[in-house]
């Protein structure tokens, strides 16, 4: 059993008591220490700026051409915080409880409570940075509601909340770059972690413009590299979003937790053809006013305006009267799949459902609806050529977020000493299903208010050591192994493009390890992914050279890692013989088709430990202790 190092004491006092006891690093010693942070999204940029403000030297890396382009920028709907500005009974406890319940009781109480506790500080910090949140006429901050909750605690900036929060963190980071406290490396991809005596002491990064492999040494390494939704090929993630940093960490001994917990977001624009490169999300906030329905008639070929009210099935309102269209994402997605699989889907493919704003426009007027969702309606119109003011949108679920990730303890440290993981790339806060507007909250909580303190538990023990230097032989050795795999990719000269292999992986994963899973399919998929891995290494074709901009080479490395991670996701889904949150095993459901948890046997976090490339990974467990809430069957009826 893994030890999460959760502090003793009352849940509500754990963090404040612990925080005041974390060993400090003196200002003089902070100046001697260097921390490498990979990724400049909400978690990475906020951690880098905060730690630089505290006095540490930070080396920050991103693969994009600017830190402002990290994928957090695409988050639309909002960020949760337990401010209770709306006087609707919200509290830290309620945000904590909603998150634990929303995650189907597969997350750690202490981490989630801490997250809820610091959520208010995030809003304060962002406002002070000049983030232009939506406001009421009186000048106070506005809120809206999101899925899975009955209060309005979501702060937002139109449909561009992620962009505005990221630009806030980016501006704080830019300030530290100007001061020389952060050294910024754009167009650099971390290609491996360097361990010295079992501790993370630096990285090998590839300069994506010159192709040079660089050695960077540090006292600790922080991964803020996001999720692995692109294992599925089609997802709402950015094209460059990848799992390579997390996967290299796994191969170097960091355990990987709950890999099978992947969130499928219910409201995305449906697939239109086989050239499709990515999927576009329509913010969950749309479910505040949009009503989801399909025809009551199977295979109904009529256009939506030809289907009279009495022949429409508002299936979420029917099945979940208490939460209606605002049920959590996993439930909304499965319900859409269920209707479509049963033959009631809309559109020529039958693989979509309607999201209808006619009632909202009637009740509130077109102008109000435009103020709330104007940019989302425009986006829908640009992509589909259809006008959602006059016709209902058509939507279908798509892969969006991964709750699984590197296992971390309460300090956010992985099982490799000195290696930390924050934001989406760790597993810690969302259990088996994340609630809407909580990803931004977690990224910024980890980066601004948690890691900068908890990393002290490790760095305070490093003050007597000589500054780490990249002249240590471990750096050259790691660099050579990276070089070998790059050479292998470039010299393979097979027949299959990286893209085509990635697509094959996506198909296997979506069909067998997506919204609905069963033992038989998972077993077949495990064999299929194994075979795909062989095909990749025997037949991949990577054009171009090493010492230039080579986008195919970048993709090839990432897809090789996605294939291995896909294999682990399937293994994890096979072992977890229960349904919880986003993980729905067909063998385990209630009579009404809802997820059926098995708390007796699966009340744990899975943590997979690599045994090298030739052996199967070993499953370790962290038992979940519920001291405050009592796990029950989630009900949104």
């Amino acid at each position: 059993m893994l030890d999460a190092k959760i502090p003793d004491g009352l849940l509500s006092e754990k963090w404040s008591n612990y925080k005041s006891k974390i060993p400090l690093v003196s200002p003089a010693n902070k100046q001697k220490q260097t921390v490498i942070i990979i990724g400049t999204g909400l978690a990475g940029a906020s951690a880098a700026s905060s730690m630089a403000e505290m006095g540490y030297n930070v080396k920050s890396f991103c693969f994009q051409d600017s830190p402002r382009r990290a994928h957090s920028i695409a988050a639309q709907g909002g960020i949760n915080a337990a401010k209770n500005y709306q006087n609707d009974g919200d509290s830290v406890y309620r945000l904590f409880y909603d998150t634990i319940k929303g995650g189907d009781y597969r997350s750690r109480e202490a981490n989630v409570y801490r997250l809820a506790e610091v959520s208010g500080n995030i809003i304060d910090q962002c406002v002070a940075q000049g983030v232009p949140f939506a406001r009421e006429y009186g000048g106070t901050l506005d809120n809206r509601s999101f899925g899975g909750v009955q209060v309005s605690r979501t702060f937002y900036a139109k449909g561009q909340t992620g962009q505005q929060l990221l630009l806030g963190a980016y501006s704080a980071l830019s300030r530290q770059i100007e001061k020389g406290k952060v050294q910024m490396f754009t167009k650099h991809e971390m290609v491996d972690i360097v361990l010295v005596d079992g501790h993370a002491k630096g990285i090998i990064a590839r300069n994506l413009i010159t192709g040079e492999l660089e050695k960077h040494a540090s006292n600790a390494v922080v991964l803020a590299t996001g999720g692995y939704g692109n294992v599925y090929y089609l997802s709402t993630n950015a094209m460059g979003s990848n799992a390579t940093a997390a996967w290299k960490a796994y191969k170097k001994g960091a355990m990987f937790s709950n890999p099978c917990f992947a969130q499928i977001h219910p409201t995305c624009i449906p697939v239109s053809g086989d050239y499709q490169s990515k999927l576009t999300l329509m913010s969950e906030s749309l479910r505040n006013d949009g009503r989801i329905w399909v025809s009551k008639k199977k295979g109904d070929a009529r256009t939506p305006d030809e289907i009279p009210e009495s022949e429409r099935d508002y299936y979420l309102e029917r099945r979940y009267p208490a939460f209606g269209n605002l049920v959590p994402r996993d439930i909304a997605s499965r319900a859409a799949k269920e209707r479509c699989d049963a033959g009631y889907g809309a559109g020529s493919t039958g693989q979509s459902v309607y999201l209808d704003f006619a009632d909202a426009i009637d009740q509130q007027g077109k102008d109000v609806v435009r103020t709330k969702y104007g940019n989302l309606f425009e986006m829908y119109n640009k992509i589909t050529g259809e006008d959602p003011y006059n016709n209902p949108m058509r939507i279908y679920p798509a892969v969006h977020y991964t709750m699984g990730g590197l296992w971390v303890d309460y300090n956010l440290m992985t099982t490799v000493p000195g290696l930390f993981a924050i934001g989406e790339c760790n597993f810690s806060d969302h259990g088996a299903n994340r609630l809407g507007a909580s990803a931004l909250m977690q990224g910024l909580a980890d980066g601004y208010f948690v890691l900068p303190y908890t990393i002290g538990t490790y760095l305070s023990n490093q003050i007597n050591d000589e500054p780490m230097s990249s002249s240590d032989p471990a750096f050259e050795k790691t660099k050579q192994s990276v070089k070998t795999s790059i050479d292998k990719l470039l010299n393979n000269k097979g027949n299959k493009s990286v893209e085509s292999l990635h697509k094959s992986l996506g198909e296997i994963m979506w069909n067998n390890c997506g919204m609905s899973r069963n033992k038989e399919n998972l077993k077949t998929a495990l064999d299929d992914v194994g075979a795909l891995k062989n095909t990749f290494w025997s037949d991949v074709k990577v054009p171009g050279r090493e010492n230039e901009i080579n986008l195919e080479l970048e993709k090839a490395g990432r897809v090789a890692d996605f294939i291995e991670l896909g294999e682990l996701m399937i293994r994890d889904a096979l072992v977890r013989e229960e349904s919880c949150g986003a993980h729905f095993r067909e063998e385990h459901q209630t009579n009404e088709g809802e997820a059926l948890r098995d708390d007796e046997n699966f009340n744990f976090v899975s943590a997979w430990e690599s045994q090298g490339d030739l052996k199967e990974p070993k499953l370790q467990k962290e038992k979940l202790e519920f001291e405050t809430v009592t796990p029950t069957q989630r009900s949104y009826k």
Binding site: T140, E178, E552
Partner: protein
């Protein structure tokens, strides 16, 4: 399903400083729901199959928000559709038989790295020069402590909507970065939080903009017309006002 045939002319350039030229590709049976970048994906798959070098281009979110994609299509930054990034430009905006050209941003401060990829780090350095409010983590007052009128918050938001793609610079005949810089300055100058550093900010950011070699603004308004986020040139007036105020102090 509607399909079209297209002649595509793409700027190919090995590296900074090497000689570039347009290359022509015939694209047949293109699904009109495909995006322009997906058209480049399809072409790249073909080039790889034919042992040719695929086209390098920047792209990431493909949702029009990250600001990565940057190319002129038929001579217009991000192509012919108003308020749309290249990644959200779909082929139903073109006709069967059209010839479409794609080339990188053209500006001295954005050197070409390869094909359609340019180096836009000059934008980051302008932000580093002062595009922030100095507030350390943990030192912020309660979010509702400073009420901000809805219209002012909206004004700041509209300025902050800039995605930093560089279309304004590429379109400007003088390669001016005034729209980009003024939007950031206006976002902060309209908010009470930005006030204390306002003078220093405008002087430093404008100075850095000049250092990077961006040209002068001659008020043609081409930048606003091409901006995928429709950032208003009104912010340039605000910046000029702030700059004069700051210079006279």
């Amino acid at each position: 399903m509607n399909t079209i045939n297209i002649t595509l002319k793409v700027w190919r350039q090995r590296a900074t400083g090497s000689k570039g030229a347009f290359e022509t590709y015939e694209m047949e049976n293109i699904n009109s729901h495909m995006s322009f970048l997906e058209l480049l994906d399809v072409l790249n798959e073909r080039l790889i199959k034919d042992d040719k070098d695929p086209i390098a281009f920047e792209h990431d979110c493909r949702e029009g928000i990250c600001g990565s994609c940057a190319m002129s299509i038929n001579g217009e930054a991000h192509g012919p559709v108003k308020a749309t990034t290249a990644c959200q430009l779909h082929m139903f905006n073109f006709k069967d038989g059209d010839t479409i050209t794609a080339e990188p941003w053209r500006a001295e401060s954005f050197p070409i790295l390869k094909d359609l990829v340019t180096d836009r780090s000059s934008f980051d350095r302008i932000i580093q020069a002062g595009g922030y409010i100095s507030v350390n983590t943990g030192s912020a007052p309660d979010g509702n402590a400073i009420p901000i009128a809805q219209d002012i918050a909206q004004h700041a938001f509209d300025a902050a909507a800039c995605i930093g793609c560089g279309a304004c610079v590429s379109t400007c005949k003088n390669s001016s970065a005034n729209l980009f810089v003024s939007a950031k300055i206006a976002q902060f100058s309209s908010l009470p939080q930005g006030e204390p550093e306002q003078r220093k900010r405008v002087l430093k950011m404008v100075h850095q903009m000049d250092e990077e070699g961006f040209g002068h603004c001659t008020n043609t308004g081409a930048c606003e017309a091409t901006c995928p986020k429709e950032i208003s040139t009104g912010y340039i007036e605000e910046m000029n006002r702030e700059y004069i105020k700051a210079s006279l102090k």
